[in-house]
Subunit: 281 residues, 2 copies
């Protein structure tokens, strides 16, 4: 039986990646999945304009192009950074039927786009590892986990609670705090919302949770799970509460159940969380 | 004619101040305004619990106490920091008729409370200098400016546009981004909204403006003015746009007029912005 290859397009909604990173990602894909996968790094990934992987127009156009192209089975964001929220507002209305069938995989700043697509009911947004994770400890396994999911539908890398068939979503805390109050914020009623962050002072995470848990789109969530908060900088004085005390405080205040830890974070162990209900495996 | 003294109560909704700072503030008040003003630093200002000037309950209770007390003409926040958004939600319903007549002066993290009070229609929230500004260059003048406003109703320290009689409000950008999406966010329709920040990477300010300008409570603002963005840390690469290009970009995107610079910021020159329409002087 000849199995047709999965074609995965890669774009950078925020910061750029190097050609070396792209080649290394492609070689991992080839070594692990042979001819069953082809990665297509859009040239935009290597573009640079100030903080971004090309101008807002360039990044928006690259995403629209690959999302609408029937040759690609999925869109994989090559890196986060910052910039997805600067996408052209008008592009979302231009996404076609092909775009509406695709899987979109990424996390961190990419969560802005996952949120917007989920809100608009376009395709299947998925939180999970990206090529920029490669230099992390366990980075190669993270990339392989994402590829196994995209190429073979392998659910073994899906976060355990997300594998239960319950409606889930996963976000970076800082990103979700900024989505709050905007048209990009999806209705998370009935969802288990998994939250993670990296490199933020605990007081900032606490403040971000005021914003998230104060948003009516979160008030009817099934519950909140806390992923990993990594690289928390040391402040001039201790915050006075642990990260789990912080999340419990804000959950209690909003009347939303806290459901324990989630296996996601800015690290090589970061698991996959399809938005909505994932197929039970 | 014997003029009765103004009694000003001070509390710390976020971080604490030292007794030395309190004494120095009181001595400036005495030297400049003599018997016409009495400052009352609540003991809570000197309390410490982790990151905060006392527990959430302690800070909330101190604020409620001084706001409701008919002996005080105004409440002046002694410091920002972080913590106002952790105030007891139930306290706002307990604010009495005396609280409803008072002026509340502060900025930065205090903006959380100014927003909530403004949203609830309680008293007169005012953006302006606080005792914690004393160590800044021009800090003593900033304190005197705030006191002249509180004690004598002196409008010379009011921000020029706010002095025009137009409806205004002023916020720290990071704080307003976190208010967005919550019940604490006031309707800023018809307002000139002045924005300032300190110590944030430009990409973070840009992201915060996505959140602010994406909020429907800001869409019908009369316009946006940009105060000072100070102590912007240098990033690993330049952002690629100036701070004024950034604010203009987000204003254009939201269809809200950009009206130029405002004379506010985390510095000794920070001017006073009464929320709503200030009396024309």
């Amino acid at each position: 039986m000849i199995k047709s290859a999965k074609h995965i397009a890669l774009v950078c909604p925020g910061g750029p990646v190097t050609r070396e990173l792209a080649e290394k990602t492609a070689s991992i894909a080839a070594a692990r999945f042979g001819d069953s996968v082809k990665l297509h790094f859009h040239d935009q990934c290597f573009s640079a304009a100030g903080h971004f992987a090309g101008s807002d127009a360039e990044r928006s156009a690259a995403f629209l192009e690959v999302a609408n192209d029937p040759r690609y089975d999925a869109v994989w964001f090559a890196r986060g950074g910052y910039g997805a929220c600067r996408f052209d507002e008008a592009l979302f209305a231009k996404l076609n039927d092909h775009a509406r069938k695709k899987t979109y995989l990424g996390y961190s700043d990419n969560g802005m786009l996952l949120a917007r697509l989920y809100n608009d009911g376009i395709g299947r947004p998925v939180h999970g590892p990206i090529p920029a994770d490669l230099p992390r400890e366990g980075g190669e396994e993270a990339i392989a986990r994402a590829l196994a999911f995209l190429v073979e539908g392998d659910a073994s890398g899906v976060e355990p609670t997300a594998r239960s068939g319950k409606k889930c979503a996963a976000f970076n805390i800082t990103i979700l705090a900024h989505l709050s109050g905007t048209d990009w914020m999806p209705d998370l009623s009935g969802h288990i919302v998994m939250l993670e962050d990296v490199g933020e002072y605990l007081y900032r995470t606490d403040r971000a949770l005021f914003s998230i848990m104060g948003d009516k789109n979160v008030h009817n969530a099934e519950g909140i799970m806390l992923g990993r908060l990594s690289d928390i900088p040391e402040n001039d004085r201790p915050f006075g509460a642990s990260e789990e005390e912080v999340i419990k405080y804000w959950c209690a205040r909003a009347g939303v159940p806290y459901l324990g830890r989630a296996d996601i974070g800015h690290d090589g162990q970061n698991k996959i969380v399809p938005f909505g209900a994932a197929p039970v495996s």
